[in-house]
Assembly symmetry: C2
């Protein structure tokens, strides 16, 4: 006899979310609902019942919520997550004999058929439920059983009882689950804090914050800059590495192979006589200064994010203390970083294939923990794709045990499958290809993939229109309107985005050379003095956009993103909305930074909760203008030299004369 | 230390085919190639190597074939299956240090960089391979190692050697697999005989084959009908149940609740005094007659398929001998089949939830084996969706152990997920919703789903334009052209199809009543005498279509189906082709059975192997007409009263004056 063949009729399949057959957790944030769907079916025509089970990791008891059938043998249930950490969920389903019987009885009654024998069968099912019930309910069920089977009573009254909601509710409570099948996997959902989903980043080189040109900035200078950053509405302030910088093979301005005496070197060449990954560059200040800065930032509603760049300058103490963590050439030199034919002589990658990989893992984890001890809760991880997947999975899980509130942003501009794998392994957010998606078709394709496929269950995009490494051709050639366009897109297409400033708000757009995406006189290799008070700065515009983000919950999530037709390839239109449609945002952007473009926007009114036959108001939160629209097609016109975008909030219904009390 | 973290860098993922995480086998037929694809990637930039492993179940040794990288970290390999039964396959992949080194060396050389130290590193890799090599190869590798590391030799010559194909080939043979990762699942492919994929079915009631009206047909009568069936080109002749039919509650003509003395009853009410599922209806003949018929059929290239209908008439001996295999009402009667409010009093379903389910399973398996012993190798299974999935999985696996050549057609016109589940469990083919897909949009959607998604790896559709239960409204109202249209669609959209005849070829189209899909005077309840020699019969047309199917290998498979644009919603166009494009078939069908329709067909020339700038000939295999076409857009016009379809074979190139020897 191969199996218990009688009681395994139900199939549970096609569960969502389920990342890679349950190998990885889905991701949610505190307070969110986890909606679970599955194909649940059996042979034949019986009615099935199903429940969704969930529990916090560590809790011993499952909590049950019912699953409701949708169409095509698909069922749905949900639960809300209220704590950081991991939750588990699975599904139980069974052939519901009572509900099957009830459905058939109802059909037969409707067709006017004899049901005497059916009522006896029902009485038996109710009697059996009585055996499983608590004493009060048991009495009730026994009474019903008796009524149904007493052939003296009028059939009509017994049928009414049999089909009553009261009986159904009680029978659901004591449903016969002897044939219940449990989905064989316990699936997981990782619950993070809200900022893992909704965050607004500002990247800044601390060394470029001195009040006078030519000086090395300090954490004190950063403190002075806090009101400026907070004023624009950012809530994460991310610093490139703040550690001592190597002298050996230090690069000069514009990545020159030789450096001059005053060249500060790139912050990513970590490690010098003054220390390594757990030390602070002496010119920036002390650990105490850093902690003070964090405290001040908190007062401004800002968290400091640090860069985790697991690599060394030739002067890093690891090189001497742990030569086994590096690769050596046959000529006795350490292999520096290369991407042939490019050479990065100032940086030594770590060798994760070392026989001493375990000591290396432990040390790298200790770096993370060191900064967590200083109060850091957000890290941007440099090039995570050049370190083994297994390392990240282990290190992040280890760290999350005690610190589930930590957020990690993966800086992996690598091939898509590697990018996705990293976030599956535990990164909270990821950089994307946004910088290289400029046309309507590109943006629509890419963001449909990110938000409308299974990817959205684990991948949280963080959009950067620029970084110290990326000055896109669109920004180089589009002038100020291009910066405004890309800002609006980044801020509204995804719940998390960031800019590298002050280069961004000052519209810095000069490339090192034609065809290069590197900045001319890049801040990576020199200290800059930015005039943040320039009148043409985008700071006020950015502040406005970020205020709109904060005020509108539709922009706090990625899932509801939907693209709409515009009869002009230069204008893109999309909407986001809360589930209850209380907040509906329609964004219209002119992608052409040079010329005014106009067109007709097509909105799916009913999806957005707008009545088909009434006027509605759209309120441009950028310009504060209000327009009266009616019907699905409406005209837009955007002059990029004024403002290349509308961020429209739908104000549902417009009053008409019928609302006026004298009208009737 | 959580894992062996150093040597597990490679990820193997997204393997196809892989049905439900490997829970079910993919399906192929003998001689076919199993193409396997997977995402194979690692951190960083190293070059990876991968091999596909396969073996026949029971063989101990894996056979390796290389996998080649495609785009986007996807790799592909394949193997050919040559025996019936189950094959297993999996994937091994590793970081290929030599290939990574070789790629980098080549880039550095190209950039004119110093590579002395690189050559030393390569020499070491080659030396290590030497340790793993057979003695002859070891010598060679040692020699190369020496050459590469001898700094006296000219660098240019050493580089040439290092990058040579000769070294590469040898290094591939002794590739360092210490970091190899094996995909954790052994996936399966079920190999059937060709007829599981490519088959042409004819359904016929044996009792309606008497030469004179009013007589009960016999197996002898069936014998006489064989040349007719073979002449139309069918290779499977399927009989509804041939067993004794119950008397109790027997249905009369047109499913009347009462039967007259001469009513034969429906063949699906199996079991009477004369026997049950292992017996033959006495009026049809004996077991010997049946075996003789099978032998005769074989001479005509036809296999007989029997109906496996696991249900009983009230007179079946199971009811007395095994009352525990049925459901009983409280009033002491057996529950007949119901689909409330419909009642089938002449049929008792089996109760698979019986406590004696195991004895029932064993008995049902023995029925299958009984007919296999008589020589039957094809079964059409009646309503498999009302029996538990577990039963089918067990019974089919048991049967296939000794009889992998058996083919099972699932008659499950049920909800899609149940239909798909059944074929995953082991059915070789399945009925489909084809009968209810009539418009271009419906056909395109449905057949794209069946042939262009993962479904095609396990689901083999068998298309029936009619069955004894289904006379579609399209056939009812469309006349002879409708039958021709549906035949061409069935015969060319899928590799397997069937008709219920002679009702089909005689264009029988009268419904029991308006709005019903039941035949008037249905053969299910009475013996028919068909005049198969009627001059308006479609037999010659069917013979032609089936001949075209046999002659054109493009029509033997489902995978290559592709729909093409026509600027008329009433005309559908699609193509099928062999992989080498030696056989390309374009089908054009007028779906309007009433009026001539015309339009412009758009063909993707390059996909079909047709040169863009040359004329090509299309040969209509139905009418034998030949047309000269040029370019992607060509005109078609189809009069349904002449012939509603073209089945065009592309004759690639047309000769021009340039081919004439005097031209130059």
């Amino acid at each position: 006899m191969p199996v218990e063949g009688r009681n395994t009729r139900v199939v549970i399949d096609g569960v969502k979310p389920e990342i890679d057959s349950g190998r990885f957790p889905a991701k949610r944030t505190i307070g969110e609902e986890v909606v679970v769907e599955a194909d649940i079916f059996a042979d034949g025509y019986d009615v099935l019942s199903a429940v969704l089970l969930h529990r916090k990791d560590g809790d011993s008891e499952w909590i049950e919520t019912p699953m409701e059938p949708l169409v095509n043998d698909r069922s749905r249930g949900s639960f809300r997550v209220s704590e950081l950490g991991t939750y588990r969920y699975t599904i139980v389903a069974w052939v519901d004999q009572f509900k099957s019987w009830r459905r058939d009885l109802s059909k037969k009654v409707e067709a006017g058929q004899q049901v005497e024998v059916d009522l006896l069968a029902g009485a038996q099912l109710i009697g059996e439920a009585g055996q499983r019930a608590s004493s009060a309910d048991a009495q009730l069920l026994q009474k019903w059983q008796k009524t149904l089977s007493s052939t003296q009573d009028r059939e009509q009254a017994r049928v009414r009882l049999a089909l009553s909601e009261e009986v159904l509710t009680r029978m659901e409570k004591y449903s016969d689950r002897h044939s219940a099948v449990t989905y064989p996997k316990e699936l997981q959902v990782q619950v993070d804090r809200e900022k893992a989903r909704f965050s607004t980043w500002y990247e800044m080189f601390p060394r470029s914050t001195a009040s006078q040109p030519g000086r090395h900035g300090t954490f004190k200078g950063c403190e002075a800059r806090l009101p400026y950053v907070a004023g624009m509405g950012f809530d994460v302030l991310y610093f490139p590495p703040i550690h001592p910088i190597g002298l050996a093979n230090r690069k000069g301005q514009n990545n020159a192979p030789e450096s001059g005496a005053n060249d500060p070197g790139t912050p990513w060449a970590i490690g010098a006589e003054e220390g390594g990954h757990k030390s602070i560059h002496p010119d920036l200040g002390t650990l105490e200064d850093f902690r003070r800065l964090m405290a001040k930032a908190e007062e401004h509603g800002i968290e400091i994010a640090l860069d985790l760049a697991y690599q060394c300058s030739p002067d890093h103490h690891y090189v001497k203390e742990h030569p086994e963590w590096f690769r050596w050439w046959a000529d006795g030199t350490v292999q520096y970083a290369e991407n042939p034919p490019k050479k990065y002589e100032d940086i030594y990658p770590l060798n994760f294939e070392s026989e001493h990989w375990w000591e290396l893992w432990v040390e790298l984890k200790s770096i993370m923990l060191f900064w967590i001890e200083q109060g850091v809760r957000i890290f941007r991880v440099d090039n995570p794709h050049t370190k083994p997947f297994q390392f990240w999975e282990w290190a992040i899980a280890e760290m999350k045990k005690d610190h589930p509130e930590v957020i990690l942003l993966s800086e992996a501009f690598t091939r898509p499958k590697i990018m996705y794998r990293l976030v599956k392994l535990g990164f909270s957010q990821s950089y994307t290809y946004f910088a290289w998606r400029n046309t309507k078709w590109e943006l629509t394709q890419y963001f449909t993939e990110l938000t409308q496929t299974d990817i959205c269950d684990y991948f949280r995009p963080n959009l950067w229109p620029n970084t110290p490494d990326i000055l896109t051709e669109y920004l180089q050639s589009g002038g100020r309107p291009a910066f405004m366009t890309r800002l609006v897109l980044a801020a509204t297409l995804a719940a998390s985005y960031g800019i590298y400033g002050p280069a961004f708000e000052l519209c810095e757009a000069r490339p090192r050379e034609l065809g290069s995406e590197e900045y001319l006189d890049s801040e990576k290799y020199e200290i800059k003095h930015w005039n943040i008070d320039r009148p043409d700065s985008l700071r006020d515009f950015i502040a406005r956009v970020n205020q709109i983000r904060r005020d509108n919950p539709a922009l706090h999530r990625n899932l509801s993103l939907d693209f709409h037709t515009v009869d002009n390839e230069q204008i893109i239109c999309y909407s986001k909305k809360t589930e209850d449609l209380s907040n509906v945002i329609v964004v219209v952007v002119n992608l052409d930074p040079h010329y005014t473009q106009s067109g007709w926007v097509d909105l799916p009114l009913s999806m957005l909760g707008i009545p088909e036959q009434q006027s509605f108001q759209v309120h441009d939160l950028l310009s504060d203008a209000r327009y009266l629209w009616r019907g699905p097609r409406n005209y837009v016109e955007l002059n990029p030299h004024v403002c290349p975008a509308h961020i429209l909030r739908i104000r549902r219904r417009v009053r008409s004369e019928r609302d006026f009390e004298y009208y009737i």
